[in-house]
């Protein structure tokens, strides 16, 4: 049984279709990359999976660990082990990173019937995870993402992932805005957290990150559909040839005509 099973998923915002029949199956231990041009619906897919309320699912279903994912609230999904690294992490003035992460971790533990961590135990865990992704200690006691640089925000997402130890991580363009060193550190963090029990979906529109996080499968998302899937070589082809050849090959309606039709 796969960890995540997306079947014929249609979703959009208020009468505007964005995803038009997504099928995706992610097994334990796998890394999937979802690539596609800007505006193709990658963040929408990630958002629908995480429970973003702005999106309305009009058709299809999503099974996570064999259960209906779409019926769960965002917090229930997180407690069940789903993690979304945001493309645009949110600033939360007045709430420190430490406080936030402890509240999150303990909410998850409570849900799973594991004893909540006290302050000392939590600090010990944080120290250990900080090393894994080379996270700056000074960022811990600052309000969540407030005044962080773009790179620091992305790193904070991965740091949270390390602490929360998800079963399914969806990284939405975690590579954008990172220089090559930061990219390497983030990728290394992700790789170290891999296990046969969990899976990672990497959303990106550059091949760059995939040099460091090597995917088992690459999917191309265009205009709300996965139009092509393949192995890691597909990413290299996309890097070289762009997306237009796939549009032609897949015999899809031309992009603009399609967009007009969906209005």
């Amino acid at each position: 049984m796969s960890l995540l099973e997306v079947r014929n998923l249609h979703a959009g915002v208020q009468g505007n279709a964005i995803l038009e029949g997504i099928n995706l199956s992610v097994g334990k231990g796998e890394i999937h990359a979802i690539m596609g041009p800007n505006g193709s619906g990658k963040s929408t897919l990630a958002g629908v999976l995480a429970g973003r309320e702005a999106y309305v699912v009009t058709e299809g279903e999503v099974l996570y660990q064999g259960k209906d994912l779409l019926g769960l609230s965002p917090e229930e999904r997180a407690r069940e082990g789903l993690f979304l690294a945001f493309q645009y992490p949110v600033e939360i003035p007045g709430v420190t990173n430490m406080y936030f992460l402890k509240a999150a971790l303990n909410a998850i533990r409570k849900h799973r019937g594991i004893e909540e961590l006290d302050a000392m135990e939590f600090i010990a865990l944080v120290k250990e995870k900080m090393k894994v992704i080379d996270f700056d200690q000074s960022l811990l006691n600052r309000p969540v993402n407030e005044g962080f640089s773009g790179g620091e925000k992305k790193r904070n997402e991965i740091f949270q992932m390390a602490v929360l130890d998800p079963t399914l991580a969806i990284l939405d363009e975690t590579d954008s805005g990172l220089d090559i060193d930061a990219l390497r550190i983030v990728a290394e963090g992700v790789n170290r957290l891999r296990s046969p029990e969990n899976a990672v979906v990497v959303v990106t529109h550059y091949q760059r990150l995939l040099n460091y996080i090597v995917p088992d499968f690459v999917h191309v998302l265009i205009d709300g559909r996965i139009v092509k899937s393949g192995g890691k070589e597909l990413a290299l082809v996309l890097e070289e040839k762009g997306y237009d050849w796939i549009r032609e090959e897949s015999g899809d309606v031309p992009a603009d005509a399609h967009a007009a039709g969906s209005k």
Partner: protein, 446 residues
């Protein structure tokens, strides 16, 4: 006879009785001050919403009630445990307790030896040194305001705090004002005088509350004089009962290089009006006014502030926040005057309101009047709900929806609490806010 004359007649009668009770003392300079106060009150009466300064705050419930001025300390029955909800949870320290506006020696706590410091009852201080009346009280810049005039008319007691030149008072002075009424609506009018000498430093905390549900009006006036290079922190925690009214006036004068910070926290009262007014009387002085109002139900909390940059090269910062739920109403009016020769003024004002319900409202008005040209003045006001993007971010990490909302609401409010330097008060406020901001709402008495 209309309501306004009826009200005046009522207070004229109270004033006459008050004068009778003073016997020979009615010839003193202090009493001349009272008479002037009563005359000013009688001439103006209570304001109506036709007056610009009271446009959003209708005090007719105050004008329509015949409040009985509390002439004596009705100490009987008030014991230590009654003070607990307003106490700062520590023994020792300096606590000046006022019951119905009158100093209670029995309930107060004043350390035996405080070199260079004088704290206690204002009545006693005036008896020792009658010149204080003319020197400080007569200068009340709020003389034109009805409520200040009414306070002056019946001026008897309050807290007195004086710290001599160069002296630092480590221990905060807690002025605990409690109203205790049976059935009669009571007029509680403490008058506080705080004098910081040159280079003197101190913190004053005022807390306000009422024992039981009886109706009263607290009409408090605090005058603060900060000497050259002195530093004063003035924190207020207003937790009156929800049937009662609170008008609080704080008048601050700052000499050169002085610094003053006020943190005004409002949690109680049916109708609340605060006037905080600071005047720069010398260069290079600094004034910070912060406020937090948390209200629900039909509470009305009105904060009017004035910062008068009458001297050059002074700095002022202002941050007023409100969390409003139910049908609560907030009012904020922030005046900043920059006089013609007050060059190099640096003034910043921010007003932020978080509305937790559709019925809660705020009327906010920055009012900058700038007559100098080389100045830096900024102001900004925001009104809104919780940011749903922030709520989602927290939920996406496993934090429950309600907990996420409470966390964000608390963070919004605690921004002001964190500016309080009196540890015991900050810790108390922290606990109070945690209990009040729960389940996505503002909760009253718990």
């Amino acid at each position: 006879m209309n309501a306004s004359t009826e009200t005046k007649d009522w207070y004229a009668g109270r004033f006459a009785r008050f004068e009778e009770g003073l016997n020979g003392a009615s010839q003193s300079p202090l009493h001349a001050l009272r008479r002037a106060g009563f005359a000013a009150f009688a001439a103006k009466g209570f304001p109506t919403t036709a007056e610009e300064e009271w446009r959003f705050t209708n005090v007719s419930p105050i004008a329509a009630t015949q409040f009985q001025p509390a002439f004596d300390c009705e100490e009987s029955g008030v014991t230590e445990p009654d003070l607990r909800p307003w106490s700062l949870g520590r023994t020792g320290g300096i606590v000046l307790v006022l019951i119905n506006g009158h100093f209670s020696g029995g309930l107060s706590s004043i350390p035996a030896s405080l070199p260079g410091v004088s704290v206690g009852s204002l009545a006693a201080a005036l008896a020792r040194d009658p010149a204080l009346a003319e020197r400080y009280l007569a200068s009340a810049r709020g003389g034109g305001d009805t409520f200040t005039a009414l306070n002056t008319a019946f001026l008897v007691d309050g807290a007195f705090v004086r710290v001599d030149d160069g002296v630092t008072l480590q221990e905060p002075v807690h002025i605990l004002s409690l109203a205790s009424t049976g059935g009669t609506p009571l007029l509680v009018q403490p008058r506080h005088l705080v004098i910081a000498g040159k280079g003197a430093r101190l913190s004053v905390v005022e807390t306000y509350g009422g024992r039981g549900p009886g109706v009263y009006l607290t009409n408090a006036v605090t005058e603060i004089f900060v000497g050259e290079g002195g530093g004063v922190e003035h924190d207020t925690l207003q937790m009156e009962n929800l049937n009662s009214y609170h008008v609080g006036t704080t008048l601050i004068s700052l000499k050169g290089k002085a610094s003053f910070t006020s943190n005004a926290i409002n949690l109680g009262g049916a109708l609340v009006r605060n006037n905080v007014s600071a005047l720069f009387q010398g260069e290079h002085a600094e004034c910070t006014l912060n406020g937090l109002s948390v209200a629900t139900g039909t509470q009305l909390v009105d904060n009017h502030t004035v910062i008068d940059h009458a001297s050059p090269r002074c700095e002022s910062h202002e941050l007023y926040k409100a969390v409003l739920d139910g049908s609560a109403r907030g009012v904020f009016n922030g005046k900043i005057f920059v006089r013609q020769d007050a060059q190099k003024t640096d003034a910043k004002q921010t007003n932020k309101t978080l509305l937790l319900s559709d019925e809660a409202t705020i009327d906010t008005k920055p009012q900058l009047e700038i007559f100098a040209d080389d100045v830096k003045c900024t102001h900004g006001a925001t009104v809104g709900q919780l940011d749903e993007e922030q709520v989602f971010y927290l939920r996406a990490r496993g934090i429950g929806a309600t907990e996420a909302r409470d966390l964000l609401t608390f963070a919004f409010a605690t921004d002001v609490i964190n500016r309080v330097h009196v540890d015991a008060l900050r810790e108390k406020l922290d606990v109070l806010l945690h209990t009040r901001l729960r389940q996505g709402r503002v909760n009253l008495e718990v």
